[in-house]
């Protein structure tokens, strides 16, 4: 039983991991065919993962409604939104438009999803300004450098800035292309080494937190 519960999953990871890492170096059509089918499988499995999440959401709000916790009415709104969208979606075969004509599903998408998403993102602009005001202070020499660089790039990225201070465009482009690119590259290489190390640990069963349950 231990084998089925603990070792077999680790063995599956080891085999799939090694197989698909090795696949990269093998140009033979057989190996390419394997990659084609396996990535298609991954696409399908990815779809099923969603059910897992939705079940959790369903459960969580069902509990709220059953216990009539504070704000359970909003959970009803959530249910209504979800079931309503699914109903019109299935009715429209999952298409927002058919031959150029908008379906009811398309209506929900265009007049509910789109404005809600767009507005949430728009709030970001306001928050950026308030965060900048609140915490962008020259508390130290480093912070002062950050501040000056940020201002130059902000000037250089808009036409008004370039109009007022013509040099700002070139300077901000230099900051982005030279200073920024090299620092990002350093972080990128470091993070990539981390990613490769982690992948190795996963494949060889050293890191198993993804199976849940700590050391067991």
């Amino acid at each position: 039983m231990i084998f089925l519960r603990r070792q077999l999953p680790l063995l599956i990871t080891l085999i799939t991991g090694l197989l698909f890492a090795a696949q990269y170096y093998v140009p033979h059509p057989a190996s390419e065919q394997m990659l084609t089918s396996a990535t298609k499988w991954l696409q399908i499995i990815g779809g099923f993962a969603l059910i897992l999440g939705v079940t959790s959401l369903f459960h969580q709000h069902a509990v709220k409604i059953r216990r009539q916790e504070a704000g359970w009415g909003y959970s009803l709104v959530l249910y209504a939104g979800m079931i309503g969208t699914i109903a019109v979606g299935l009715w429209a075969n999952g298409k927002e438009s058919v031959d150029g004509a908008m379906t009811a599903f398309g209506w929900v998408y265009n007049y509910m999803m789109v404005p809600l998403q767009g507005t949430m993102f728009a709030i970001l602009a306001f928050f950026i300004a308030s965060a900048a005001y609140r915490s962008f202070r020259a508390k130290s020499r480093e912070a002062a450098v950050l501040l000056v660089a940020a201002m130059i790039v902000m000037m250089g990225r808009v036409p008004l800035g370039e109009y007022l201070i013509p040099l700002s465009g070139d300077v901000s482009s230099w900051i982005l292309n030279v200073l920024n690119a090299s620092v990002r590259r350093a972080i990128l290489i470091g993070v990539s080494l981390g990613a490769v190390a982690l992948s190795f640990k996963i494949i060889f069963g050293v890191e198993r937190s993804y199976l849940g349950g700590g050391k067991e």
């Binding site: 999440g53 959790s56 950026i128 965060a131 190390a197 937190s209």
Partner: protein, 423 residues
């Protein structure tokens, strides 16, 4: 599979000789422009090495009349055919193009000098190149009405089982992997010093404050799935935070964007409560899924922050545009905020709005530091050594490249090519 490891001696010739060659080729062509062209010399046809099949490689030596006026044609025909004039033309190009050096192959897989011509024969209009079938190939030089043929050669394409151009990639993968496992086993036997990260003291402080105020702790694991090191690090840190929260009997809220991460984090939290000796306090719904959609998730988490007013907010893992929407809202409720992310594009937002931020790999280091497990610490050591190697490679590489540029020597390039991405 043909692999020729011989490093041609011609390659050691300096760049100047190369230029002399080119110049003389140009001179010759202008002087003897009217003279007749010769058949292409030393033509070789063979199955393309390190490929998925369905392709042949044709190579021939450069000649004195490699000029735009003279055109080369590559012809393919049935293996039994002998008259090249009846073959199908699959490529036609000016005499001064299509060299070995234009193809992106590693020098350790080359069998001729890089000044040779090279053309790949593949399936295309009029010709289908199948594995296992022999094909006859010839090269012609064309000038005006004149057309001279090379001898007809026959070769059979076949697929290969290893791409030798990616040998450097494999060597790096294997040696770095080996290094990581070595450092892990080393860390199991020896104590390794780990520099304390200031943000980590704050973790305890934040949990302590939440307990004092009797308010919950909010923990986010980021936007990515479990393939990502940042998510794994976030999950490991969650285990440690959950254990402390269990000890202090403080409520933990973990909203998720990714179903599989949620499932795994549930297990991790359960384990943490077990380890803390408080399994009865564990709540299955401490970890819950909201939605995979970026901003509805953000709206919902913002809502949780404003209504449940957690005293400590943890933002670990990968984030995108939602980062500031989360941290600004958190700041407005007065919570202690600790972030840890390798999403470098969001760092400025976290740094300005959070009390502590673990930058880049500090996130991985934090999971090592908190868990004190040799596996984690050893990995960190392995990564550090890897970084040192990359750094010295870059430093030496720049020096070599500069030396090569000044002296015109070719050998530095051979060394540098070991670190090039070649396919």
């Amino acid at each position: 599979m043909r692999v020729n490891r011989q490093v041609s001696t011609i390659r050691r010739s300096t760049g100047r000789t190369f230029w002399t060659l080119i110049c003389s080729a140009w001179l010759c062509s202008s002087v003897f422009a009217q003279s007749s062209v010769m058949p292409p010399q030393d033509v070789r046809v063979f199955d393309t090495p390190s490929d998925e099949g369905g392709s042949l490689t044709v190579q021939w030596a450069p000649s004195s009349w490699d000029v735009p006026d003279v055109r080369y044609q590559v012809l393919v025909g049935d293996a039994a055919a002998t008259d090249p004039a009846s073959f199908t033309i699959i490529a036609e190009f000016p005499g001064n193009s299509k060299y070995v050096k234009d193809a992106k192959t590693a020098w350790w897989t080359r069998n001729v000098d890089k000044t040779w011509h090279q053309v790949l024969v593949r399936s295309g209009k009029g010709v289908e190149v199948k594995d296992g079938t022999p094909y006859a190939v010839a090269v012609t030089a064309v000038q005006g009405d004149q057309r001279v043929f090379s001898p007809v050669l026959v070769a059979t394409p076949s697929p290969d089982w290893f791409n030798w151009n990616q040998l450097n990639n494999l060597v790096i993968a294997v040696s770095f992997g080996g290094l990581v496992f070595y450092t892990i086993s080393h860390a199991k036997r020896n104590e390794i010093f780990l520099r304390r990260i200031p943000g980590l003291d704050a973790v305890d402080e934040a949990i302590g404050r939440a307990t004092e105020l009797g308010k919950p702790i909010l923990y986010l694991t980021g936007a990515h799935d479990l393939h990502d090191p940042s998510t794994i690090a976030a999950a490991v840190i969650l285990g440690k935070v959950a254990k402390r929260a269990a000890l202090y009997e403080t409520e933990l809220i973990v909203p998720h964007r990714e179903p599989i991460t949620m499932a795994v984090c549930q297990e991790i939290t359960k384990q943490a409560y077990l380890e803390a000796g408080k399994p009865d306090l564990f709540k299955e719904d401490a970890n819950f899924f909201i939605t995979a959609d970026q901003f509805s998730y953000t709206a919902a988490v913002d809502g949780i922050m404003l209504r449940k007013k957690p005293a400590a907010n943890f933002f670990m893992g990968a984030y995108f545009a939602e980062s500031l929407l989360l941290t600004e809202t958190g700041a407005s409720t007065g919570a202690i905020q600790i972030a840890g992310t390798d999403s470098d594009h969001q760092l400025p937002f976290f740094v300005t709005t959070c009390d502590y931020t673990l930058i880049g790999e500090e996130l991985y280091a934090a999971s090592a530091y908190l868990s004190k497990e040799p596996v984690q610490i050893g990995t960190l050591r392995g990564q550090d050594i890897g970084k040192a190697v990359v750094l010295s490679t870059i430093a030496m590489g720049v020096a070599l490249a500069t030396f090569g540029a000044i002296t015109g020597a070719q050998w530095p390039q051979i060394i540098l090519d070991l670190f090039r991405d070649l396919k």
